[in-house]
């Protein structure tokens, strides 16, 4: 699913990743932890095909990132610090736009909003009028709409209330059970430690610890 070997990535001239080796398989839920500026978000952006790999080899979802980043981008769902929502459009218009742009059926928008607990009364409300937590939920619904094979979540619990956090946890587990892989960067270790099947620690742009804590999520067909 993800194979990184000696990956170096720059932010400007600064090496935000300085030789990362990482292999992640399907259905794993990987918690990436580390101090501020360690390179967690950069790692997610590299996996999403957004940031160029300066040296080393990187393969994501079977695509070589030095050759075909566009193919990777189409298959991942990234929740970054930004929510990528247009303030002046309504919740529904935003998600319908991103669904159309991603060539996803518009029918998938309402179930995704429902899944994230976004009340129907908010669908016709301009995003600028939402709270930070509501925006975050809508952004997560945008990831759900894409049905990605690789979920890249940067601080997915940030700004959410207890109910929202529980929904995110369930979303992550369900995605892994459905065969997807989830990589999430988080400082909220009390929530994510138990959720993850593997803990990766990043510091100074390199991986300093990598520990499997439990088996990957069983697939839906395994459970039945």
């Amino acid at each position: 699913m993800v194979r990184l070997r000696g990956v170096v990535a720059l932010l400007g001239r600064f090496p935000a990743l300085a030789g990362v080796d990482l292999e992640i398989d399907a259905r794993e839920i990987v918690l990436v932890q580390g101090p501020n500026g360690a390179g967690k978000s950069t790692l997610l952006r590299v996996c999403a095909g957004l940031l160029r790999v300066e040296s080393g080899t990187a393969e994501v979802l079977g695509h070589d990132l030095s050759v075909d980043r566009a193919a990777v981008r189409r298959s991942v769902g990234l929740l970054g610090h930004d929510t990528a929502l247009y303030d002046d459009l309504t919740v529904l218009e935003n998600l319908q736009f991103w669904a159309a742009a991603s060539r996803v059926a518009p029918e998938s928008v309402l179930p995704a909003l429902d899944r994230l607990g976004v009340a129907s009364r908010l669908h016709a409300v301009a995003v600028s009028r939402l709270s930070a937590g509501q925006r975050r939920r809508v952004a997560l619904a945008g990831v759900v709409v894409r049905r990605p094979t690789l979920w890249l979540l940067d601080e997915p619990h940030a700004g959410l209330d207890q109910r929202g956090r529980d929904l995110v946890d369930q979303l992550v587990v369900d995605a892994a059970r459905a065969g997807a892989t989830v990589v999430m960067a988080s400082h909220e270790l009390d929530r994510t430690v138990d959720l993850a099947t593997r803990h990766v620690t990043v510091a100074g742009g390199t991986i300093t610890a990598d520990r499997q804590v439990r088996a990957a999520e069983p697939g839906d067909h395994d459970a039945s």
Binding site: G12, R45, A48, L50, L51, R52, A70, R73, R74, V76, L78, G80, H81, D82, T83, A84, L85, Y86, D87, D88, L89, E93, F97, W98, A100, A101, S102, R103, A126, G142
Partner: protein
């Protein structure tokens, strides 16, 4: 690709319609500039009539700068630019979509400005076809150059001030060509407006090709 061009253009136009920035800020700004030019030159009516074409297009340049700023800002403010890459839309479709949206706004403003110069400056249009063709062709060049430079300065910290510094000199050929073509359309100066329109068409084509080639590189994160 046309589907994505339409998608991006309609999205930008819907944002403008909802925010009312064009109607509530850009149009009044354009009208204000026109009125102030009129105040400055009204004492010498013949000069005002001779300068009408140039004043019209200088106003359009100012308006274009505002429209491009706005078009760039909506993609940057909450990371939508990155999401466009992830969505898999071809960069050329984003470029053309944003160009169409900017051009549409500029054309709306120009309709009002034409009415403004007729009413305020006493201009009379001798060749409506040339005037309309000039508006459309010049606008394509302005919008294409604006879209391209908007993407170029998107990552710059002081992009609000950098954009006009880069955009206005690049639009100088449009200012010259469109002013001459308008001179002919308004009958204020004896020139061959259609020849100047050809120059504008060439400028527009160059900007469209440059945008199509370079926009993808500019959209990428570094």
């Amino acid at each position: 690709m046309l589907r994505d061009v339409r998608l991006v253009a309609l999205k930008d136009l819907r944002i403008e319609w909802r925010s009312r920035v064009t109607l509530s800020q850009i149009v009044p700004f354009a009208a204000l500039v026109l009125v102030l030019f009129g105040f400055a030159l009204d004492a010498n009516r013949p000069v005002l009539e001779t300068a009408t074409s140039g004043l019209f297009w200088i106003t359009v340049m100012f308006v274009a700068t505002m429209a491009v700023q706005r078009s760039t800002a909506v993609e940057i403010n909450d990371g939508a630019r990155r999401a466009l890459l992830l969505a898999g839309i071809e960069p050329i479709a984003v470029f053309l979509g944003k160009t169409v949206a900017i051009a549409a706004q500029l054309l709306v403003v120009q309709v009002l400005l034409v009415a403004g110069v007729i009413v305020l400056y006493g201009a009379s249009v001798g060749q409506w076809v040339l005037l309309l063709a000039t508006c459309v062709v010049a606008t394509v060049g302005i919008a294409a150059a604006g879209s391209l430079l908007g993407a170029l300065v998107a990552g710059v910290r002081a992009r609000e001030t950098v954009l006009p510094i880069l955009l206005l000199p690049i639009l100088a050929p449009v200012l010259i060509g469109a002013t001459r073509a308008f001179d002919d359309a308004l009958g204020s100066v004896a020139v061959d407006g259609w020849a100047w329109l050809g120059l504008l068409a060439g400028f527009g084509a160059i900007n469209l090709v440059l945008g199509a080639l370079a926009y993808g590189v500019l959209l990428e994160e570094t």
